[in-house]
C-alpha cells in the first residue's frame, strides 16, 4: 500500500543533498506578504502569457542559465530540462502539451475562452540564488510580458 498524500519535496530535497554531503540546506523562497491583483478584464478579453522552467536549448546542470523567449507560433516539439529535478523515473517530457500549455491556450483563444495568447512564451531559469530570480530574471520576464501586452501570466514550473 503506497502513501497517497502529496510528496514533501522540500524534505526529500534536504535529505538528498544531505546524503551528498552538502552542509548547508537549501533555503527555499518564502514571503510573508503575497501580492494579489484581481483580473482587470474578463478572461475572454485577457491576453495570457505562459512561462516555463524548461529551456529551448540543451544544457548541463552546471551551465549558466538565462531568461529566454520563444515564438508561440513556432513551438519546438519539446523543451530541454534534463538539468531540472522533475520525476525522470515516473514520466517523460516528450509531449510538450503536458508541461507547456501553448496549444491548448491557442484552442481556448479560438473558442473565445481567453482573449488571446501572448506572442512569446518565456523560459525562466531556476536559480540557486534567490536574488538573481527576484532582482534580474523575474523583472525581465515581467518586462517581456508587458511588452507583449499580456494581462495574465501563467507560470507552469516543471
Amino acid at each position: 500500500m503506497h502513501e497517497t498524500q502529496p510528496v514533501h519535496y522540500m524534505e526529500r530535497t534536504r535529505l538528498y543533498y544531505e546524503a551528498q554531503g552538502f552542509e548547508r540546506a537549501y533555503q527555499w523562497a518564502h514571503f510573508e506578504d503575497v501580492p494579489f491583483t484581481p483580473l482587470e478584464k474578463s478572461l475572454s478579453d485577457s491576453r495570457v502569457a505562459v512561462i516555463t522552467t524548461g529551456s529551448r536549448y540543451d544544457r548541463l546542470l552546471t551551465d549558466p542559465r538565462f531568461v529566454d523567449s520563444g515564438e508561440i507560433d513556432e513551438l519546438p516539439s519539446h523543451l530541454f530540462a534534463k538539468d531540472l529535478a522533475w520525476d525522470k523515473q515516473a514520466t517523460h517530457l516528450n509531449d510538450l502539451g503536458s508541461y507547456l500549455p501553448a496549444q491548448v491556450l491557442k484552442e481556448f483563444a479560438n473558442l473565445g475562452t481567453i482573449g488571446s495568447v501572448a506572442p512569446r512564451f518565456h523560459c525562466l531559469p531556476t536559480e540557486y540564488s534567490q536574488r538573481r530570480t527576484r532582482e534580474t530574471d523575474a523583472p525581465e520576464i515581467l518586462r517581456r510580458c508587458r511588452e507583449d501586452q499580456a494581462d495574465v501570466a501563467l507560470l507552469v514550473p516543471l
Partner: protein, 108 residues
Amino acid sequence: MILGSAIDIIKHCGVPRFYFVDFPLGNPCGKPYDLEMQRGIVGAALQLLETVSEPRTVVKDPNNWGTHEWRERYMEIKPEDRARMSRQGEERRRERQRLREIGHTRQD
C-alpha cells in the same frame, strides 16, 4: 498564477493563485498525449483568475495519475546508495569549484 505539482514548495513560498495537480513532477498540464485531460486542467486553472479573490488560494485538480509508487520513489535514498551519493556530492563540489575558477558562471 501558477499551475504545478510541488504544493509544499508553493505554499512555503506564498503565491497569489495556485492550481495544484498531484502528479509526478514534469507533467503539471496533464498526462502526456492526453489532450482531453490537458484541456480540462488548463481550463480549470484559468478559471481561478475569475473566481479567486485573495492571495495564497490553492485549488486541487481532481485528476489522478493512476499509480502511487512514484511518491515514495522520488529522490528515494536506500542504505546501499549512500556511499555512491557521497562520492557524487564530492564530484559536484569539485566541478563547481573548477567552473568558478574558469568563470563558467553567471556574473550578475
